[in-house]
Symmetry: C2
Subunit: 510 residues, 2 copies
């Protein structure tokens, strides 16, 4: 039996590449948190050089020679070596390295450098344009990025749509054909549910969330919840950024960011829990495999399932607040005086079509994604032109959510993703929502008295379960295979739909 | 005439190398400011990979081929190209690239990676050991670093002492033989001056500096002074770190750090001004030449002249405080109530043998350096063993300053330098002191009413002069040549000695 030991010449090379990529991630983190504005252009060049180097090393002839000993280039599968088969970790490692290698091989190094530079620059222009509510300012960069991503899709190749080529980068195996039925099912049951809720006699008042809350205690409370979740601050940090995100340089250095608004208590709170879920995944990866696919997260959909599980299944549950609400009340005595847990629980679960995706409730959230999924398909396929985006955005907001943004900053400019070329990224958010409920229900079945544990503030039992079932495996299994191993089935909208129908049925007395 | 245009294939390569080095600098900055403790080992590996790559690219056969068209390898001088001579910038550029290339060429890439990794690790152990006052904890790392630096000296080659090989890295052309007479002259006049001061009837009371000062307004005042100096915060930042430092990733992103102690008002204040002086140099480099020696600072001695000029010639002058003291008094009304400018000026110029170099007065400072200069020579030459350092340190403190540290944290562990392999660095601090007064006196001659300008808070006129005379030239001239161009003479202890004799003669009524 061949084991990972045989692959050491390969893993040594991969480790070096990963270190270059990690360095680039540190530079990106800094760009979003502490970099002075004037440093943006130089930063774009630095990151581009590193990404170009990492790419060159991955597609080098040395790598090709190494891989061709062990992999059948036609199938991408490991072949017998020295007359013996491979063990499972080695087979998985080879399969995934081949995936990365053969994709990278299709992209010219110059293209990778250009794309990296343009994305880094566009991201900075986007931030500025958003703050000035000036879509026209961002438009030239968006055009460039879109053109480059269309080019990338051509390099990568696809059967039906160039958008499929981009989807696959974030979610291996995902296609328009596979995703569309999921969205159709969601739409078919969510839209009527939403209608029932808006027509319900129950009116939830969430105005307490918009009182004035000091920013420092908000952050401190976020830190407390992160600690309770098992996020390890000796291997992580919490900082501020315009758009909350998680980034990992190694399982020993995984950083999350949040934002704090004086008049939006839920913003810092749920972004801390959300990013904490991502952070736990990255801290839970197996350090021994760092640099190889076995030490890497498996897909953005699975990654998002971790953040959404913590944010929604845990953080928006009644059980969670039975433990944490008294502490929050202690922290904000004046503002939450006389507000009982039922009122608070209702407020944080208030369903209301709203403009901003990241602040959306669990139910309307997927409609925000559907809109983006449709728009970015059309953009990548050339059916929509970037200059028409604001109008199209607003029309779809009207169609799906019944509201129209009053500014592009709250509309088409709200998300950072397109600025860094992440077309095909959004659908993984909905996959994450679906997976999150699947996983959480399985955890509830397997962990004795999980609800009681959560209600007692003992969150580590859940974290350990997730680490054992999901985090530690890295890319050993493909996303559908992993979901099957953990829950007995691949992704399905049913658990999620049943969960929201039950939860909101109770809240709104439907 | 051949110009820089001819050298474009070279400068393009240099730029890529510089971007890798800049990325490594971002990683180091993060290590000292925000990195969680657990991330240290992975960080050391990331930096080592980047420095290894930069080294490989510098010593590549491609680079060799490029350079050999234009440079005589025997002399390192530019030769005629296509039948024409070079203009001055091109000749300087080639001279300095050759210096970097031929030095790098002597070091094996593996050695560079190992040295980088060990330095990054040792620096983290040093910080821990210092905080725990545990020299023994740091000893194994120090041994490793010293051994590597001795090895480096062998690779680089030298005529008289391996220490000379290391000195030259930081200060081109510096040798023990050249430095020793400077230190002898300083010692011969500083020791008697110090004696006269301690025997003077004037006793300066600096206890007001040790009252309780809130940390936030201390930082804000530091920021205000930095702004007045012309340090550009859109191209820079001020952060906290254990050991204040300045780092530059590009003239558009130059960062300084400081530390703040509640009971040491001078600490944050003067480290801000000091690092600000470094920061102005790096922000003042010519962006067009970024990545080439013409866009790089010329030596550590000249760099330090900029920080010491601002810290001492400006920041410890009476004129400076005529403008800034009322603002400081406004900031700390309670603590500075009834303290007039004369008392404050005396307090910040109080001469007193003390344990910590960076807190030392202008006069005893060079004795701290002399001690380090002697110790590190002996270490590198193998005459002293690392385990004997604490005893030797304390003995020399007794001999030169008449006081003995009560702990290694305040003794041999106080400075970060040896932990990152910077043997040969300390003497540049004394060179910086000497140059600083030479430059400042020249500025006083050339800028009309400079003292009045400073007393009116108009510091930009000085910054512009320094930029024109020093910063913008990068490595166009060697350090001695630059000093001659600016002041008419190479480094000399006379201006500095005259300056301190006059200043402290007045203060202590000698």
């Amino acid at each position: 039996m061949n084991t990972l030991t045989t692959l050491e010449p390969l893993t040594t090379k991969l480790l070096e590449i990963q270190r270059i990529n990690s360095a680039a991630s540190v530079l990106s983190w800094d760009q979003e948190t502490y970099m002075p504005a004037g440093g943006g252009e130089a930063r774009a060049e630095q990151i581009a050089v590193l990404q170009g180097l990492a790419h060159q090393k991955l597609v080098s002839s040395e790598m090709q020679t190494l891989l061709s000993q062990w992999i059948d280039p036609a199938t991408g599968q490991a072949v017998e070596h020295s007359g013996a088969a491979w063990d499972e970790p080695s087979r998985s490692l080879l399969r995934e390295v081949w995936r990365d290698f053969s994709r990278a091989k299709k992209l010219p190094s110059d293209f990778v450098v250009t794309l990296s530079r343009e994305c880094s620059l566009a991201q900075q222009v986007w931030a500025d344009a958003k703050s000035k509510n000036a879509f026209a300012m961002f438009l030239p960069n968006l055009r460039t990025i879109l053109r480059l991503k269309q080019e990338e899709a051509q390099y990568l190749g696809y059967r039906y749509s160039p958008y499929d080529a981009l989807l696959d980068v974030y979610e291996p195996g995902a296609t328009i054909a596979g995703l569309r039925p999921l969205f159709e099912t969601l739409k078919a049951r969510l839209v009527p549910l939403l209608k029932k809720i808006t027509q319900s006699n129950v009116q939830i008042d969430d105005s307490i969330l918009r009182h004035s809350y000091d920013q420092t205690p908000q952050l401190e409370f976020g830190r407390l919840v992160l600690t309770a979740m098992g996020y390890d601050f000796t291997r992580g940090r919490l900082d501020l950024s315009a758009h909350p995100f998680t980034t990992s340089f190694h399982p020993t250095d995984v950083r999350v960011t949040t934002r704090v608004h004086e008049h939006e208590l839920q913003s810092c709170l749920f972004s801390c829990i959300h990013e904490g879920g991502h952070g736990l995944y990255d801290q839970g990866l197996d350090q021994r495999y760092f640099g190889t696919p076995l030490g890497d997260s498996v897909s953005l959909g699975i990654h998002e399932s971790q953040s959404r599980l913590w944010e929604n299944c845990v953080g928006r549950s009644h059980a969670f607040w039975r433990f944490f609400y008294p502490i929050l009340q202690q922290t904000f005595q004046k503002q939450l005086h006389g507000v009982d847990i039922e009122q608070f629980y209702a407020a944080i679960n208030c369903v209301k079509p709203s403009l901003i995706r990241v602040e959306a409730d669990e139910l309307t959230y997927n409609l925000h994604i559907m809109l983006r999924f449709e728009i970015e398909q059309d953009l990548v396929e050339g059916k929509t032109q970037p200059e028409d985006l604001p109008a199209i955005w607003n029309q779809k907001m009207q169609d799906y959510l019944g509201i129209i943004p009053t500014s592009d900053a709250d509309g088409v400019l709200q998300d950072v993703h397109w600025s860094f070329g992440a077309f095909g990224y959004f659908p993984t958010y909905t996959l994450g929502n679906l997976y999150s409920v699947q996983f959480f229900e399985q955890a509830t079945r397997e962990i004795p008295h999980l609800e009681d544990e959560i209600a007692a503030g003992r969150l580590l039992v859940l974290r350990r379960w997730l680490e054992q079932k999901i985090h530690r495996w890295g890319r050993m299994f493909t996303p559908p295979h992993l979901a099957e191993r953990v829950t007995g089935s691949t992704v399905s909208p049913e658990p999620f739909l049943n969960y929201v129908e039950k939860k909101y049925g109770q809240l709104y007395q439907l």
